[in-house]
Every structure is written in C-alpha cells, then in structure tokens.
Symmetry: C2
Subunit: 410 residues, 2 copies
C-alpha cells in the first residue's frame, strides 16, 4: 500500500452488492470502494466473472490485469445463481445492502428474479443501479453493447481521427469507465437523498447515452455551424481557426515525440512569449502573425515556424521551456512515460497493487481528500471473502458456509 | 422543459458556491445542479465568466452555446472580487454554503484570500473542491492547462489515431468534463460523509491525473506486453489480434458511413450468425475462419468479406440487421445523426433548453432516476439571481443590493 495514501472513509458502513462484470459496472463500484464502501462482488463459483480471464495477468492462469485494475479494494463471494438456495442468499444480502449494481445483458437480471420491483419490495432503502448498452425506449434496447459499440453509436468516433481519414476509436474507454463514473454520481446522489427520504431509487444509465455527456463540445460546434462536428487530428474541430494549435514534432522523432502547443485567444502575450522562446522575436511585429485572425490565415507558416524549433528539443524539454514562460504546452505522454514519471509515484497517482499473484503498478483514483490519495488494495481472489461476508452480513457460521460449498451453492 | 423529465431532487437543500469557469469546473457543478443542488455562480460584473463569450450563441452578442451547455440549471450572481466588500460578501456566502468549487489558475484563489484554510475556518462544514491542470507536487504544478494539454500529458492522445499516423486528440473533452465528473464523485462522497462527521473536506483533482482513470485499458495493455500501449485506428490496441473487429464502410460512402462490428471471444455463435447475415453460410466450416486464432491470422480476408456486405447497406440498416441477430454492431453516429434520432428526444436524452436568447437542443444528464431524466433548465443570464440569492442566503433586501450595484460591488 502506498505510503502517501490515506483511506478517505467517505462511505464507511455503506454496503454495495455488486453483480457487475467487465468494466462499466466494475469501474463504478470500484470508485465506491475507493471512497470507502464495502463492495462485495457476487460471482459464479465456476470461474467467477468473465473479466477474470480477459487476457494475461502477473502469472499464468491467475486473474488477469484487466480484472485487477477494475476490481481493486473489493471483496468477492461466490454464489451459484442457478440454484434456488443461491438466489435466496443473494436476496438476503440485498435486504442488508445499501446499493445494488448490475450490468448483465438486457432482461437477464429480471429473469433471475432480482429485478428492481423484487428487490425494492424486499428492501425499500436499497439504491438499485443498472448499466445497459442502450436505453429503455431505444430501438436498440435489446442489443448487446461493448465499449467500442457505445463509442461508435455515442458519437465519439465520428469526432476522432485525422481530418480526411476514417473515424478512430478514442483510446480511453469512455464507453465503459465513462459510463461507470456517471452511474457512480447517480448512486451517490440517491444515497445522499436517502438520508432524508429513507428510500432508495432506481438509477439507470445506458452506455450510448453516457457518451453524449463527454462529447458536448461537438454539440456546441454543431449548434454554431448547423453541420455535424467533424474530426480534425489534434487541431480544433472547427477546422483551422486557431494557430498555433496542435501537436508539433520533437526529437528524436519517435511515434509519440510531439508536444501540444497553443496560444490563448484571451492572452496576446502567449504568442509573443512563444516567439521569444523559439528565438524569433524578430517576428513579433510581423503582420502575418500579429493577430489571432492573421495567424489563422497563415496557419501553415506558423506550424513550420514552431516545428523548426520543436524538432531541436525532446518533448519533455519543449514542454518545460514553453510551460515555464507561462504558455500552455503539453508533451504527448504514453503509458511508458507516465509509468516512468517520478512524481506520479510520489503523489500516489500511480500505486502498486500488492496482490498474491504478483505486483501491478496501476493508476489509482485521482481524487484527493485533504491532500491524500486513496490506497489501492488488491482485487479479491475468487470467493476470498465468502465466509467472512456471510458471517458479517447474514450471521452464518463457517460450518454453514462449508455446507453450502459442498452442495455447490457457493 | 422536457415532458418526460422529472427533477430527481437528490441534493435538495444543498447550496453550491461556484467560482468555476470554462468547462472542467462548470461541468462538475452542473451535474450537482441536475441532481437538485442550488448552484450559484459567482461572476465578474463586467462580462461574467470567460466562457460566456467563447464562440457564438443563438443571437449575436448573447451568451455562447458553450456557456449554455455547461451551465444549465444554475443561478448567477455578480460580485467584484477586486473589492473588499465583494470579497466579504463571498465569505458570507461561503459560511452558508455546503460546497465550494473553483478552477482558477494555480495560486489565484489563495491570493484572493479564499483558500481552503480561510474558508474551512469560516465554515467547517464546507466541502471545498478544486480543479487544477497538474497536481500538487508535479513538476508542472504551476502550469496552465486546458483540455487538450491535459489529454496530451494524460496519455489519451498517444493511444488515439491511426496505427502509423500521428497521435490524435480524442474528440470527447475528457480533460475538462472527464475531470469534472470525477470531482463530482469526490464532492458527493464528502457530502455523504458529512452526515456522520459534521465536517467538510478538501477535495482536489488535477486534469492530467484524471485522464489516467479513463485510459486504464492502456495500462493493462502495457502490463501485458511491457511496452507502451499504442494507437491502432478503430482496431484493438494490441494490434490485430481479433477479427472481425473495427469499422466497416457502408453506403453511400460519406465520411461517417461506417458500422463497427466484432464477434466475441466468448461466443462462437457470433461469427456463424454473421456469416449467415452476409449470405456466406458456405464459409461456416472454412478452416481459415473457424476459430478466433484462425480469423486473426486471416484478418485482411475477414475484413474484405465483411466490407463486401457492409458496402451494400447504409450504416443504420447494417446495425439493425446484425444487431437483431444478437451480434454486436454499432453505426458510427455523428452529432447530426444523434440530433435526428427520435428516441433521444422521446427519452429526454436530448432536450431543448428554453433560453430567453433562443432555443438550444442539447444532451441532458444521461442518468435516470426511477426511469426519468432530469430536466434541462436555462443557463442563467449574468447576475440574473443576484437579488434573489442575496435575499435568500444573506437576508439582504433589494435596496441593499441596489446600493451595492451602484457602488460597482455586484
């Protein structure tokens, strides 16, 4: 556990019954776990949730990195949902839970008898949260969805890629984690409200719908022009109306050796300072570059001018020199750069999960409370907490749990 | 206001003192407003926050669409923070607020005398929230940041774009709204905790750090291979290990006429069903395509096979036909497609803001409570609620407020 980390304990005493899998649901419940909730994953005794075997992990035939990263700080119990006794156990747990989260395929949770009506009747205080690919009432309401399907249908790909190229998938998993974060906001709102009302609510989000929350800049652009917003590399969606704006090549010329530079509309000093840094103060009064409008008209010349300088520097140095002059600058960093950045480790932004299968350096929750990050604790082994949680939540003793295990129920 | 919309009222009675501007802070406080908090923007009497004039709006010289979209459902008061009396008013408001949010340049809020220590001393119950570009302790802690700078330095660009091309900026504004949503989670956690402890907390997030939360798939990829994760168009980051997987061209061949198709590892039926849909059931037993491994080895052939079919259909039809067969499919939709989708309007996912300057069709908050979306209400005119809020929060009468106005304080 990271030395700088301090558990924020915001959700102390909040119990989350987590029937979610893969990323959209698990990223949401993991955020709740990082805030201090007791998150209990309910998994199939035969192998657990499918994310456990999605790709490789620290050792052969152990939990995948994919599972570890989205399930830190949680507990795991196993329950066979195909057995009546197993289902009854989950209902008993739901009576004692504060939050229920699921992201099965459409209709599956209702077929199990664990739908909103049933669980709300059993426990009116329960906040009942669901992720689906498409919203109720959508023509695609019964379709399967995955991160990239949600991104295609949610508008993120159309605005991502080179101007004359094909749509690209944004690398971030907005379809999954982007959705999970919004669901967490909804759950926390409902939990807050329960203090007053005493009642839980049904909280729902669709992965397609969630994408629109992150692409509102494109809707602003559409309103301005009356036309669909279009991708434009690393330039503004508008298409060339700002210069400098974009990524500029740095040495030694590798695929991620670029620095993002731009100068603000609101601050004419940015351009002058930039010219001084690149040793071209002689151009400060040049009419081709004197105003925002003039620079936009001479965008190609501006880009050549800056590239001549950036090519002489590596991206870190370029960012340091330009940033220190009070001009916005950002090196294009990849996962290798980020993992190697000492201040991320010092600040607990990247932490090492100490897992029985092996270590895993991974990003931690980026929100800080009173200056400290939340600690990353290991993702649970399959069924690691069955005995503990059944004792604590359902007052069962170890012998009872062993009996259930022998019968294949847990 | 949308007919299907129902105010969720989760945060009834919660007062948010909002000194934020542009998008990262405002998207956060807007989410709180949608959940029912009373969010009061404090703005400069001379023009208000700079987002008000960022680009065009429904009419010349009125609030920009940019401002409208990130400030729905809020109130606005004007206060001159350069006057002592103005600052004193803000401190009085802070005494009566539950949440304080700011995203000024590094050090600015402390120079105003509105830092955490001061406001915490005045109101120990206050949740004090801040967005900066880079975290405390980062070598870039004093640098300016904007959405694209955060995305460059946070790793999203390196994993976005064509395989052999330059990094691209993901179209979604992850640097801004992506950060704002995580801060909202932190604020809601702290508000929940305050029920028990009676104390507010300092909640901080840096835009660079926030990007890592959405790019964890790339860190999984890095852990698997030991190499930085790289962009790969709309294909998997791994590089060609899954087929079919990606976007396939549809008629009539416009820049966004593509459908995303893939078949799950876990369900061999997907591929067979897809062959039946495209009229190539004759290939079901073809050894080139019989297994996941075989298809990956014959990726180019798989892509040709599917493209021959997708080119004969428009993207909506392709999505409908493939999706109905239980195989994942997603049309690449742009803002035009999304605004034209009838079910978004019916479900209140896209609503029309009825603003005195003109209407604006925009995405609403995608989380639903008991089946209903939150209503979109207008963004405030500059200082629209000064008299009302000062009466309600500070028990000042209209005459007092007029006096302050005459002195240039509000």
């Amino acid at each position: 556990m990271d030395k700088t980390a301090v558990a924020p304990n915001c959700l102390d005493g909040v119990r989350v019954l987590d029937l979610s899998q893969f990323e959209a649901g698990p990223s949401c419940t993991e955020a709740l776990a990082w805030l201090g909730a007791e998150v209990v994953k309910v998994e199939n005794p035969k192998g657990g949730e499918p994310g456990r075997i999605l790709g490789t992990g620290p050792k052969p035939d152990t939990d995948a990195y994919y599972f570890m990263i989205y399930n830190a700080n949680k507990k795991s119990v196993t329950v066979n949902l195909k057995s009546e006794r197993g289902l009854a156990l989950v209902k008993e747990m739901a009576k004692r839970a504060d939050v229920f989260v699921e992201n099965f395929a459409p209709g599956a949770i209702e077929r199990l008898g664990l739908g909103w009506e049933e669980l709300h009747a059993l426990n009116p205080r329960l906040v009942y949260a669901q992720v689906k690919g498409f919203g109720q009432g959508s023509p695609y309401e019964n379709n399967l969805a995955f991160d990239m399907i949600a991104q295609a249908c949610g508008g993120t790909m159309a605005i991502t890629g080179e101007r004359d190229g094909r749509p690209c998938k944004p690398g971030p998993t907005l379809g999954d984690t982007g959705t999970g974060m919004l669901l967490a906001i909804g759950i926390l709102g409902a939990l807050f409200q329960r203090h007053t009302t005493g009642h839980g609510r049904r909280v729902q989000i669709a992965m397609q719908d969630a994408q629109l929350q992150y692409t509102r800049g494109a809707f602003v652009q559409h309103a301005r022009t009356g036309q669909p917003a279009m991708r434009n590399g690393a330039k503004p969606m508008a298409g060339g109306s700002l210069a400098p704006y974009g990524i500029y090549p740095c040495k030694p010329g590798g695929p991620n050796d670029y620095v993002f530079l731009f100068t603000s509309h609101n601050n004419p000093q940015h351009w002058r300072r930039l010219l001084e840094i690149i040793g071209r103060a002689d151009l400060i009064d040049d009419p081709r570059f004197a105003t925002v409008v003039a620079r936009a008209q001479h965008e190609a010349e501006v880009d050549v001018l800056l590239s001549e300088w950036t090519r002489q520097h590596d991206k870190h140095e370029a960012m340091r020199l330009v940033g220190a002059a009070g001009v916005p600058a950002g090196a294009v960093l990849d996962t290798g750069d980020l993992l190697a950045e000492p201040s991320f480790a010092q600040r607990g932004i990247i932490q090492t999960m100490q897992h029985p299968n092996g270590e895993f350096r991974m990003p931690a929750f980026p929100v800080r409370f009173d200056g400290a990050p939340a600690p990353v604790k290991p993702s649970p082994l399959l069924g690691e907490h069955t005995t503990e949680v059944f004792a604590d939540w359902l007052h069962m003793d170890a012998e009872d749990v062993n009996g259930l295990r022998d019968e294949g129920i847990v």
